[in-house]
């Protein structure tokens, strides 16, 4: 098992070496993307993600109506030629709101994910490298924090400081970085005893240089896969918070919020609920298929590391 993993990573690094310089990174990226898209599930995943990101960016230009325009004549009307997906309980156009409903979730998670992966990743690499007392103490705290449900930790902060983006982004970035510490620490342990790290230590290289030059390139794959997974967990968390009434604030269109609103009217207007359900599901499935394809391409065993929400 581990041999196979090494072979794959060796192949990837060999390729990078052959082309050399900055172009190698670009070549590596395209190589990975192409081999991800050569699997049917990976292709579907990448297309779904690109589709949703594109819609999120251009939706304000293409939506047919104003997302917050209320109409008491059109409440819960069935789909027709003017409102393709009907209207919701306040007479707002469902299609408009579905097209725009992913914007805030994608914006918040797109900022919070890289922060989470970076701080968790670097702390994990550092702890894996230095070990000892520091490692022991911090890992105990990590264990303790992981034993509390995510929603308790996040809700406490959100209820205290308010539900704006300025609270949500740091909160998500902090709590979703904690599991990353573990992943990157374990990945570092696999590398730290290898010859080139020992050699760098013996040459008296600084801690920073060992981390950036020797360890980071070897842990990068695991962190990339972890980042893709974190992104989907974060979206899940954000839309769950919205659904519970702690994420996006009305009248902003958000899928979680829309599903919560539509739940009371499922019998009369099922589309007002099913449309955001479809949009949210396709985005999250897309991210996960992408993460899965990425893991297989990079040779990182994903199933073992998937922790339950």
């Amino acid at each position: 098992m581990s041999q196979g993993k090494n072979q794959v990573t060796d192949q990837v690094t060999d390729q990078g070496k052959q082309t050399g310089g900055t172009s190698s990174r670009a070549a590596g990226f395209w190589h990975v993307l192409v081999s991800m898209m050569s699997r049917p599930s990976g292709l579907i995943g990448v297309i779904l993600v690109l589709f949703h990101v594109t819609i999120a960016i251009i939706s304000p230009e293409i939506v047919p109506y104003d997302y917050k325009k209320i109409s008491n004549i059109l409440m819960l009307s069935a789909p027709d030629s003017h409102h393709w997906l009907g209207t919701d309980q306040l007479g707002r156009d469902v299609l408009t709101r579905v097209l725009m409903g992913g914007r805030q979730a994608l914006f918040v998670t797109a900022i919070a994910t890289p922060i989470a992966v970076m701080w968790g990743g670097f702390l994990g690499i550092y702890l894996g490298l230095v070990g000892g007392r520091k490692d022991d103490v911090i890992m105990r705290i990590v264990d303790a924090l992981l034993s509390l449900p995510w929603i308790l930790k996040m809700l406490l902060l959100i209820v205290t400081f308010g539900a704006g983006q300025m609270v949500l982004i740091p909160t998500l970035a902090f709590f979703y970085g904690i599991p990353v510490i573990r992943i990157s620490r374990v990945a570092t342990h696999d590398v730290v005893s290898r010859d080139f790290v020992q050699a760098a230590k013996a040459r008296g290289h600084s801690l920073a240089s060992i981390i950036f030059v020797e360890l980071l390139p070897n842990v990068r794959d695991a962190l990339l896969v972890e980042g893709a997974m974190r992104w989907s967990w974060m979206l899940l968390a954000f839309s769950s918070l919205s659904f519970l009434g702690f994420g996006a604030t009305p009248p902003n269109p958000d899928w979680g919020l829309m599903i919560a609103d539509a739940r009371g009217f499922l019998v009369v207007a099922p589309l007002a609920g099913l449309a955001p359900v479809f949009a949210l599901s396709t985005l999250i499935i897309g991210i996960n298929l992408t993460a899965d394809a990425l893991a297989k391409t990079l040779g990182v065993d994903r199933a073992r590391k998937a922790s339950i929400a």
Binding site: M1, S41, R140, I141, D143, A144, L145, S147, L148, P149, W150, I151, L152, L155, L156, L157, V159, T160, S232, L236, S239, S240, F243, L244, G256, I259, A260, R263, L266, V267, P270, G273, L274, V277, L280, S281, I284, I285, I287, N288, L289, D292, D301, A303, R304, A306, S307, I308, A309
Partner: protein, 339 residues
């Protein structure tokens, strides 16, 4: 002569292994207690750092001047932090969490009812999902990369990642609104006996079982694949052991061991992390009590629930670690040799 020497050597090696395992067990148990102690400090400190305390939550607008001072005096909030922490932790050890601000019941009573309901929900979920999950995991693992594996694994990713409120909404729409097979909402009160929750508990259990099945399936699948590639299974195949016997005797016992830890994580998650499903179905479990306590700023109740959920998490993980240590075939053989 030589034979008995070899036997003696084996026996002493077995005792040595056992000694090491015992040491490992003790270390693991101590670690569990240390984690719980640390969690209790983090919970207490966390609530302490956040602005506002029990008195500002209770008095709300009137929280100023003499009234605030009196209230703090009455609840003992003027004492130093360390003293209050020790007092809180001490009574929590005795199962006494004090009185809720917004309810006449004691916190222990409130939490007791809700824990019982959460346990019932967890039990139903496990009964529905676990056999299914292990069966599918074994099938997909043995048929790696064949159509059945690709289909099951893809469906599992979808089931695992679609938000619970999404699958719950769809299931309610289908089974409750359109087909009218199961009630879509729980109307039973929190203190009702377990049997009163049927059939209302079925839909929430199914939603949770979907997520759980996906997680366990993936773990079982990857551990089956790992065992299939191990030396002793290759050896068994080379020896000509029939396929069925190889799977039953060599692969399954070794592959199902890692599943224990995932099942433990699942139980911990079911006891504390299912706020969304409980909210959707109006199920009176620990999760909803927690979210209500947070929005009402009932800090004592929040602390109590957080501690209980953390203890459950640490406890089931500890149990899983001990179980997998004791079920480890290598250890079992060494014990059998000795007896």
């Amino acid at each position: 002569m030589l034979g008995s020497l070899a036997r003696a050597d084996q026996v002493s090696r077995a005792t040595k292994v056992e000694h090491q395992v015992l040491k490992l067990l003790m270390r693991r148990i101590l670690l569990g207690f240390a984690t719980v102690a640390l969690v209790s400090v983090i919970i207490f400190a966390g609530i302490e750092i956040l602005p506002g305390d029990a008195c500002t939550a209770y008095l709300q607008r009137d929280a100023q001047g003499q009234r605030l001072e009196n209230c703090r005096q009455e609840l003992g909030l003027h004492r130093p932090v360390v003293v209050r922490y020790l007092g809180w932790a001490g009574s929590a050890l005795r199962g006494d969490f004090g009185v809720s601000v917004n309810s006449t019941k004691t916190i222990s009573e409130l939490v007791g009812d809700r824990s019982k309901n959460s346990l019932l929900l967890a039990f139903c979920t496990l009964v529905i999902g676990l056999p299914f999950a292990i069966f599918l995991g074994v099938i997909t693992g043995l048929n790696r990369d064949k159509p059945i594996d690709l289909v099951c694994s893809t469906v599992a990713i979808c089931a695992m990642t679609i938000p619970e409120f999404v699958s719950a909404t769809v299931l309610i729409l289908i089974f409750s609104v359109w087909l009218a097979w199961f009630p879509g909402i729980v109307m039973t009160s929190a203190s009702a006996p377990a049997l009163a929750f049927f059939p209302e508990i079925i839909l929430p259990s199914v939603v949770l079982a979907m997520v759980m099945t996906a997680h366990i399936l993936r773990t079982v699948r990857s551990s089956i694949i790992e065992v299939l590639e191990s030396d002793f299974v290759r050896m068994a195949i080379l020896k000509g052991v029939p396929y069925r016997q190889m799977v039953l005797r060599h692969v399954l016992p070794n592959a199902l061991l890692p599943a224990i830890n995932v099942i433990a994580l699942t139980i911990a998650w079911l006891m504390g992390g299912v706020v969304v499903v409980e909210t959707v179905f109006n199920f009176p479990g620990l999760g909803r009590l927690m979210i209500n306590a947070i929005t009402d700023r009932d800090l004592q109740l929040v602390q109590a629930i957080a501690l209980i959920v953390a203890v459950i998490y640490v406890g089931v993980n500890l149990a899983a670690d001990i179980a997998s240590l004791l079920l480890n075939p290598r250890l079992r053989t060494s014990m059998m040799r000795r007896s």
